[in-house]
Subunit: 381 residues, 2 copies
């Protein structure tokens, strides 16, 4: 094992477990007074170790984005999982197998066709598969629009009459990722809540059950004030945070728990460029901050302990090269670091950057420079 950051081969993904725990604690404290369940989205972490050691262990209900995640977390003992991407018929055998293994896996859907497929599989297996009807609050991607009240009820009836279990409704305010500032995000949170509660009311008025009313995204969960009518909140990236969340005002730079440690591999002195061995393969191609008021390039460059160098970002990336320079328009002097020096780069989007690695190297802000171990990640579908 490597005892200190200086010994690590680069590029390598660091995860500060202290910050992850603090981010989780803060979110739980924010939601606790509202009596809603936090169902963390484990698509960012994709790690049994993180689930077990930092998120609350297998008793915590979770959200996932792939059946692979559901399979891995269920094998690790998680008993309550929502697979929050629209189900297609070809995936139902895997859903049935996970449920048969003892995990209460729920699916989501937004059409009568999908409801009928889930109902048919429920009848075939003799196990009523729980399904949430996905709603669209803001035109972001999937989900039934509020105007389609008749279809909502038809989907509910197809589930109930067909032998599945209508578990409730679910909505994700995906557009909240594009709206900087607390006021805009609060409006988005209220839109999410109203959409979910409105649909739950419609189902109940039609004599259908709706025990679960699920909302969530990191921005809306963070700034939401009113959760009346809601039973659970889903959020994921808040565990790690990233530059997109910081750019939206959802967290500070110091809350970002994941970063890529890299090594200086060269310079272009005439241009003020420092080249590092973290290119887009190490950072991912995610440029989420390009749509925000402050474009952070491929990441904010810090010393190895996470203190940002003023205005230094990765302005450009090839597969294995990152070019560090002052932010366009800044008068900051170029970095003055020799060949072989180490830097830490904070990512645009923790989900995308973490996906480039098979493990986290665990650190702790209270023990600067120390390496505490590794936590394996998984990936795939």
């Amino acid at each position: 094992m490597f005892a200190t950051l200086a010994d690590l081969p680069t590029p390598v993904l660091l995860l500060d477990g202290f910050k992850v725990a603090r981010n989780l604690e803060r979110m739980r404290a924010h939601l606790a007074p509202h009596g809603v369940v936090l169902r963390p989205h484990m698509k960012t972490a994709k790690s049994v170790a993180v689930m077990r050691d930092l998120v609350g262990g297998p008793e915590t209900p979770i959200t996932v984005s792939t059946l692979k995640e559901a399979e891995v977390y269920a094998s690790a003992g998680v008993k309550d999982i929502t697979y929050a991407v629209g189900i297609s018929p070809d995936k139902l055998d895997r859903v049935a197998a996970i449920r048969k293994g003892g995990c209460d896996l729920s699916v989501i859907l937004d059409s009568v066709a999908a409801a009928e497929a889930v109902a048919a599989k429920s009848r075939e297996t003799g196990d009523a598969i729980p399904a949430l009807i996905e709603l669209d609050a803001d035109g972001h991607r999937a989900g039934l629009q509020s105007s389609r009240g008749e279809e909502l009820v038809a989907i509910g009836r197809a589930l109930v009459d067909g032998g599945a279990y209508l578990k409730g409704v679910l909505v994700h305010a995906g557009e909240s990722y594009a709206e900087p500032g607390e006021a805009a995000i609060r409006a988005s949170a209220e839109g999410e809540r109203a959409t979910a509660v409105g649909a739950a009311d419609k189902l109940r008025a039609a004599g259908l059950p709706c025990p679960t009313v699920s909302v969530g995204s990191t921005p809306t969960a963070t700034f939401g004030q009113d959760f009346s009518g809601i039973t659970e909140v889903r959020a994921g990236v808040f565990m790690f945070f990233d530059l997109v969340m910081q750019g939206l005002g959802v967290c500070g730079l110091d809350d970002i728990a994941a970063g890529v440690l890299a090594t200086v591999i060269g310079h272009q002195p005439d241009k003020g460029w420092t080249l590092i061995d973290a290119g887009w393969m190490a950072m991912s191609r995610d440029r989420g901050t390009s749509a925000l008021p402050v474009d952070q390039g491929y990441g904010v460059v810090c010393d190895p302990l996470g203190k940002p160098y003023p205005d230094q970002i990765v302005i450009k990336a090839s597969q294995e090269h990152g070019i560090v320079a002052a932010r366009p328009g800044s008068a900051a002097k170029p970095l003055d670091l020799p060949l072989g020096a180490k830097v830490l780069v904070l990512p645009n989007h923790a989900c995308a950057t973490a996906a480039q690695y098979d493990a986290y190297v665990m650190t702790d802000a209270r023990r600067p420079g120390e390496v505490l171990g590794t936590a394996p990640r998984f990936r795939g579908w």
Copy 2:
């Protein structure tokens, strides 16, 4: 195993071995009359099976972008590898270990500091590490600029006098990826050639050796006409090709060997959207075509056998959702595919998309719909 495409769990990465072989054959046929060695860049494939079965086996000299690639390919018997990213001192122990294992691994560098580190490691191990001096032809990223002739010679002397092996010079016309059309790319190829030959001449005039004069990128290798003074050509993505290369005019859509098979998971009928289970995790966040005349979104949507649906692209992607719609401005009707139907999505950038997977599912254009097996990939550093 899965016998046909219809049986595959999605998203999944398909690789047409027939097209890979054809792309390689075409490149070799183009270069053969010029008497230059093709040193394929294996950073796209990252697969021992692809190296062994499609690229020519361990006798073929190769290029790599990480020491992990060098280690894996060397373990599989490859004897001649160039690690074509600037070396930093902390990586030299791994370089020495790979060389000790019997692989003739070369490094590249563009500073006296790096040359001195390579020379010091050469003296320490008693093994003269071969180094190529990296040159900058177009301001793309790393490499010594032509104006720095004195530094070029100083680097050469630091290697030779210090006990390393000055193997030659190397240049990559990275800006050729941003210049559509054969004429622009030919100019780029000539710039690459002139830069390399000019530097080789300077080294020789100073009494230094320069046996290897290495150039290359897929566009310049494809359209280059004059290779005089050049000893080897490097190129990588041409094996698989992708929408960026197609957009530059370097290949046709039908030459693209890699694609992501995905499943329809929903619809937004009011918007003409079809949702698929290939989001940016499946396609990567690479949007290379956004800078080209035709923006292909997150990919061109085809039937499972690779026939494009006219003007249908992935216009938007979340982590696990792709939104398929007609290209902006197109009058094409929305896709009319039911829940559960399969599509094949051609990627912007094969290197980035392939990196999202642990294996290729192998297909062959001459045996449509059949699954021939899987070829494992690796990743990491």
